[in-house]
């Protein structure tokens, strides 16, 4: 009962927040000073915990790393299924569904990725992207503790993800699906491992960005916003800006 009430209050808060800020450009900040403070905290957290764990993870034998990466990636593809459906992208829906079925069965619970060898390419789709697909603006930008950069739209998406993600359905919501169920610990363990896997793959890139940046906060913001924009548009064009330069 208490949990349900908290969820309701949070939902109301985010709806008010979202409707207030959704017309704002992504480059605009919701509350920059606060976000910069959170960013500083996140960097300290990364340095103390995340980075050392990722470095340790990188020392594991390649087959173990690859298997872990495949396993978490297969689980996160589950979220792409309802989102591809919501976007009416049936080709992508086929790729995501086929990929999960093949990797879970032939690929031994997702530890291997035979689907990729069969030509199935499952793009990661989430509710933030689906909202973007329907033309809903990003809203302003801010930084969440531990979770990192986000926008008004993506933060709503993050909450909504837990309602439509089949994996969240059987873990944090403790429901049963096709005879499978789990608990919150399973959910957060998989998400945590996925984050460590991502961090370990990007150790050099993060170091390089940190070393060569004049304002690291802005660099991360740019990287995050570009990445989200590309995922929604499925393109990476910046042609107009360059053309203006030659006029």
């Amino acid at each position: 009962m208490y949990k349900k009430r908290v969820t309701q209050i949070l939902s109301y808060f985010f709806i008010i927040f979202f409707t207030t800020f959704s017309n704002v450009k992504a480059t605009d900040e919701c509350f920059e000073g606060f976000s910069r403070a959170i960013f500083k905290f996140n960097m300290a957290f990364d340095e103390a915990i995340f980075e050392p764990v990722a470095k340790g993870y990188n020392k594991l034998p390649n087959p173990i790393k690859k298997g872990t990466s495949n396993f978490t990636s297969n689980i996160s593809t589950l979220l792409s299924i309802p989102n591809s459906l919501l976007q009416g992208n049936f080709k992508q829906l086929g790729h995501a569904t086929g990929s999960v079925i093949i990797n879970t069965s032939v690929g031994v619970l997702g530890l291997m990725n035979p689907a990729e060898k069969m030509g199935l390419k499952a793009h990661k789709e989430d509710v933030g992207q689906t909202l973007g697909f329907y033309g809903i603006g990003t809203g302003c930008y801010f930084v969440l503790p531990i979770l990192g950069p986000t926008t008004a739209r993506d933060s709503i998406g993050l909450i909504a993800d837990t309602f439509i993600d089949p994996f969240a359905h059987i873990t944090i919501r403790e429901n049963e699906l096709l005879g499978v169920s789990g608990n919150s610990l399973d959910y957060y363990s998989v998400k945590g491992t996925s984050a460590i896997d991502f961090r370990s793959e990007n150790l050099t890139s993060f170091d390089s960005l940190e070393k060569n940046s004049l304002d690291l906060y802005s660099s991360y913001k740019s990287v995050y916003l570009q990445n989200r924009e590309n995922k929604i548009k499925n393109s990476t064009s910046d042609q107009e800006d360059w053309d203006n330069l030659d006029k």
Binding site: L214, Y217, V223, Q239
Partner: protein, 198 residues
């Protein structure tokens, strides 16, 4: 004898030009340049100083640093004085070369492959490529924005790594510095100079 000397000089010059100049075709230009860089950077007989000198040389000759500097300056490039722009360009070039060469230590042996090219406008071609680290790391897709106004001398303007434009990251970083300093270009130049000296 004098004629023979001139002939030998021209012969040497034309041979050396054909060896060291990259192709004028954007796709071949990127392929030749990157493969040469991979050879040099993985050459164990060269020390770090020699490698830095090589990277600086190819960057100065093959990257459109001037245009990159103006692009990253954003709208301020139109409203700043000529002298400020000149000082900015000077600092930006040094900043660019320093940040480029500082990444040398990150280099690991890789296999480079051109995937295709796409002519975006009369003067711009995007060359698609992928880099596969030999140690088994994940492959990285890199798109190269090549400026071809002078068809005899293509120039690199941007690298788009896994969809992220490095020039745009730089531009947005500079925009943030400028906006928190009343759009004062001199403050940005100071920041660049600070980075160069450290």
């Amino acid at each position: 004898m004098k004629r023979l000397g001139i002939f030998l000089f021209i012969l040497f010059f034309s041979i050396s030009t054909s060896i060291f100049a990259y192709s004028t075709n954007p796709r071949e230009f990127v392929d030749e340049l990157v493969n040469e860089a991979i050879d040099i950077l993985s050459d164990k007989n060269l020390n770090e100083e020699q490698k830095i000198a090589f990277v600086e040389k190819i960057a100065l000759e093959n990257v459109d640093i001037k245009a990159l500097g103006l692009y990253t300056l954003g709208v301020l490039r139109k409203s700043s004085s000529d002298e400020d722009i000149k000082n900015y360009q000077n600092s930006f070039e040094k900043y660019f070369l320093k940040s480029l060469t500082s990444r040398l230590t990150d280099y690991s042996s890789s296999k480079f492959e051109i995937l295709g090219d796409d002519k975006k406008s009369a003067n711009t071609t995007i060359v698609n490529s992928k880099v596969t680290p030999i140690d088994g790391g994940p492959e990285i897709k890199i798109d190269w924005r090549i400026y071809t106004k002078n068809q005899e001398k293509p120039l690199i303007r941007d690298l788009i790594v896994e969809g992220l434009s490095l020039a745009r990251v730089q531009k947005e970083e500079f925009a943030s510095i400028l906006s928190s300093n009343n759009n004062d270009i001199k403050k940005l130049i100071d920041k660049l100079d600070e980075f160069i000296q450290n």
